[in-house]
């Protein structure tokens, strides 16, 4: 079992790195791209014997306490069974 955690900057927070990436993409000639936001992606491997709901609750706490800074970031947790 795996937990996937996405950490993204809150929409109200400026993302200068995303902006710089946006500029680079535009300089390659791609049109119609209105915005780029950069975030983080985590894969957390969990014993298959563990309870899915309890594991998800634990990962939510890990995301809130460690992986994201709630002052500036949001997070989203997905649980995946089997390989990916």
């Amino acid at each position: 079992m795996k937990a996937i955690v996405y950490v993204t900057l809150k929409p109200s927070v400026l993302d200068p790195q995303g902006k710089a990436i946006h500029h680079s993409v535009e300089s390659l000639g791609y049109e119609g791209i209105s915005d780029v936001r950069q975030g983080k992606y985590f894969e957390i491997a969990i014993d298959d014997t563990a309870d899915t709901e309890a594991s998800k609750a634990a990962v939510e706490r890990i995301a809130k306490d460690v992986l994201a800074n709630p002052v500036i970031e949001d997070y989203k947790v997905e649980m995946i069974n089997g390989d990916r």
């Binding site: 927070v13 200068p16 790195q17 460690v66 992986l67 002052v71």
Partner: protein, 235 residues
């Protein structure tokens, strides 16, 4: 009086802070390895600059979980002085000892130069030797110094006099041009509500010698010494 300087793996301004205390205050100072938990006997602890844990995850995010941080929280709650400089400021924000967060500089560059700071509150244990409105020349060296917080936090900081330093020009004018990193409201340093915890991005410990371009940073260390002396007389 006794000072401590916390050392995390990746701290690199610990010796500068040690030097500033031992040379300019002439006071005893120890390095405190981040695995230590006993802070009894210290009057002030400096959380120095550098790249604790290689800035992995976010600047200051992992240092927050070092054993010394639990003790530092109690130390601050007991009214002792905690001084976070640069990465130390980032760590104190991550640890919740100071509000807000430090993000990537608006211009994306690592900025390393002297900047002007206007003293916004002389009534703190760290700034009593300065006057409100005085302009200090202090170096910055960071890529993540862009202070941010929500509106409610900013209002509270303003109302409680917790904004201690702002980036200004040489005349003390606050402007976007004088803001090196995009920090909200030009904030360079803040304190907690009780004013015994200060965090700032600029490096006063690097501005203690004329030879290095400025000794404007000495006042912070001498202010702290005065505060510690006063505190010990009251006890």
């Amino acid at each position: 009086m006794k000072f401590g300087v916390v050392v995390f793996p990746g701290s690199n301004c610990d010796h500068d802070a040690y030097h500033a205390v031992s040379k300019y205050l002439g006071q005893p100072v120890d390095f405190i390895w981040h695995k230590e938990t006993d802070l009894s006997g210290y009057d002030a602890v400096i959380v120095p600059g550098g790249f604790s844990y290689g800035d992995y995850l976010r600047a200051g995010a992992l240092a927050r979980f070092s054993p010394v941080m639990r003790s530092l929280r109690n130390f601050a709650a007991a009214g002792k002085y905690v001084f976070g400089i640069c990465n130390g400021f980032q760590i104190l924000c991550e640890a919740g000892l100071l509000p807000g967060a430090l993000m990537r500089n608006a211009g994306l560059h690592f900025v390393c130069r002297h900047v002007n700071l206007r003293v916004e509150n002389e009534n703190t244990p760290f700034t009593s030797q300065y006057a409100n409105g005085s302009v200090l020349s202090i170096p910055i060296a960071h890529a993540e110094g862009n202070y941010t917080c929500d509106d409610a936090t900013l209002n509270a900081l303003e109302e409680n006099g917790q904004i201690v330093f702002r980036y200004s020009d040489a005349e003390g004018e606050i402007s976007d041009e004088a803001n090196p990193n995009g920090a909200r409201s030009n904030i360079a340093g803040i304190c907690n509500q009780d004013r015994n915890v200060l965090g700032m991005m600029p490096h006063p410990e690097r501005a203690c010698e004329e030879l290095l371009g400025s000794n404007d940073g000495r006042g912070m260390f001498s202010s702290l010494a005065v505060s510690i002396t006063r505190q010990s007389m009251l006890q």
